[in-house]
């Protein structure tokens, strides 16, 4: 585990300890006391603190987005220049649009890469 991982582990542990301590300390107020203004205030404070701790915990656990690790699927649409034959395959290094990539299995005409595009994740599309 690297230095970053150790710090992260310590932060998670600290957040969990704080969360447990707060829950134990305010347990009586939340569940066993007769409601009064003071108790309601303490309950609100307890819930607020617990939620804040949970939020902090989630922030610590949340993995930072790493755009270098994002893999994207790039497809090539191959078409025959003589007939309506179309096929799709994954992009290979050296491919480019209008590159001739063989002969048509249907009519023997030239096959060309008609288009190259990446597939966008639904999440990315929705965020627009």
């Amino acid at each position: 585990m690297g230095e970053k991982g150790k710090t992260r582990g310590a932060q998670i542990l600290l957040a969990i300890i704080v969360l447990i301590m707060l829950t134990v300390f305010f347990w009586e107020d939340i569940f066993h006391k007769v409601p009064s203004m003071e108790n309601i205030f303490l309950i609100a404070l307890s819930i607020g603190t617990i939620l804040l701790s949970l939020y902090y915990l989630l922030q610590v656990i949340k993995k930072p987005s790493d755009i270098f690790l994002e893999s994207q699927k790039v497809s090539c649409v191959i078409r025959c220049v003589s007939c309506d034959y179309v096929s799709t395959r994954e992009f290979e290094k050296g491919d480019f649009v209008l590159k001739e990539v063989g002969t048509c299995p249907r009519c023997g005409g030239n096959l060309i890469i008609y288009s190259i595009f990446r597939d966008v994740k639904e999440k990315e599309r929705r965020s627009e």
């Binding site: 009586e28 303490l42 755009i67 649009v97 060309i112 288009s115 190259i116 595009f117 627009e128």
Partner: protein, 375 residues
């Protein structure tokens, strides 16, 4: 039992003292915020900038690493490679003086030409056995890495200056722009991948339109790194222009249009320019819109040339724009943009039908980086 009693007594005491402790805390908080409010805000903003700066540094280093790997992959692995790449990444372009604006376009074009020549020459020296396409793609990779380096240095400059002076307004300037800078930087990171693999990018939408129209026809070089093909579209003779692909290159469409118009003494019925354009938030990627004017981005040299020559001969010019987000412009082309290209071709044909007659000569220019798109 004992724990319950202990907790009960602690809570009872706490409840009694709570009222005045709470008041004191509030007063202290108010005084602190009143006196140090801006300082606290400054510290928070600096923290935010610091986080982004760290991310930018990772991006910058990754860009440098990709450039070095791409060059090594093409054969050359000299000892001074890293030092040479570092030197290129620090490359600076000095804009021409505008105190006397006369001839500024010509001077700007000269600087751009020198820069392009210099970068390509550096790449050629590092990878002498590379072909034209590889040199162009590597130059694009270098440019993306240079942009990331520049972003990092600008943000670092404001961050350190803000930290030194603790000036709220210096920090505020960069903090406000940070979301846009980060968005653009992430786009450049994605561009590194596309340029390294030679994949078509969103900016190449215009070039793809031209490529589709000129496929199978004879081409000739009309301007540096720019090709033209004469295509018959429903009885009209169309001069279709695009940058020479499939290497990463934008060519000189302005110069090409000028050459064609001068070659036929302005006897052109219509100029149609197709380019990718930045969409507004809420607009769909790949949406096609029409307009008038010279649809060319960049520093303005080509735009100026088209406007000048079109005005000289009184030729109307139409623009067809394929909308896309900043993050799509330099990353691998999306399916929606390819669909937009098909739509744009349909619109070109409609505009030609509506505005010209058989036998007319027209110019169709597909603008943009032609990486991954041949002709």
């Amino acid at each position: 039992m004992f724990m319950g009693a202990l907790i009960g007594s602690i809570q009872q005491e706490a409840a009694q003292d709570f009222g005045w402790i709470f008041q004191v805390i509030w007063i202290v908080v108010l005084v602190v915020i009143w006196i140090y409010g801006q300082r606290i805000q400054t510290a928070l903003m600096l923290r935010e900038i610091e986080g982004s700066l760290r991310k930018l540094k990772v991006m910058r280093d990754k860009g440098r690493q990709i450039v070095i790997s791409a060059i090594k992959e093409l054969g050359k692995s000299s000892e001074d490679l890293a030092a040479r790449v570092d030197r290129i990444l620090e490359h600076i372009d000095i804009e021409p003086v505008t105190l006397d604006p006369t001839g500024v376009i010509k001077r700007l074009e000269h600087i751009i030409d020198v820069r392009e020549f210099r970068l390509k020459d550096e790449v050629k020296q590092m990878v002498p056995e590379a072909d034209e396409t590889q040199i162009n793609n590597l130059t694009n990779v270098l440019e993306a890495a240079m942009a990331l380096n520049q972003f990092y240095k600008i943000v670092r400059h404001y961050y350190l200056m803000g930290k030194k002076t603790l000036s709220f307004y210096i920090i505020l300037q960069i903090q406000m722009l940070l979301p846009l800078i980060m968005r653009e930087s992430e786009a450049f990171v994605r561009a590194l991948g596309a340029f390294t693999l030679g994949q078509p990018i969103g900016d190449g939408a215009g070039a793809l339109v031209a490529a589709r129209l000129m496929y199978g026809k004879t081409k000739r070089i009309i301007a540096p790194s720019t090709v033209v093909s004469e295509v018959d579209i429903d009885g009209r003779r169309a001069y279709v222009i695009k940058a020479k692909g499939p290497g990463g290159n934008v060519g000189k469409p302005g110069e090409a249009i000028k050459q064609i118009l001068e070659g036929v003494n302005g006897n052109i019925a219509l100029i149609i320019m197709v380019d990718a354009a930045q969409k507004f938030e809420g607009e769909k990627t790949g949406e096609v819109v029409e307009g008038v004017g010279a649809a060319i981005g960049g520093p303005g040299v080509d735009k100026y040339k088209v406007e000048e020559i079109a005005a000289k001969y009184g030729v109307p010019f139409y623009a067809i724009l394929i909308k896309e987000g900043i993050e799509d412009v330099i990353s691998t082309m999306r399916k929606e943009i390819v669909d937009g290209v098909e739509d744009a071709i349909g619109r070109i044909k409609r505009i030609i039908h509506e505005n010209t007659k058989e036998g007319d000569k027209i110019v169709i220019a597909g603008i943009g980086n032609t990486i991954g798109i041949a002709q």
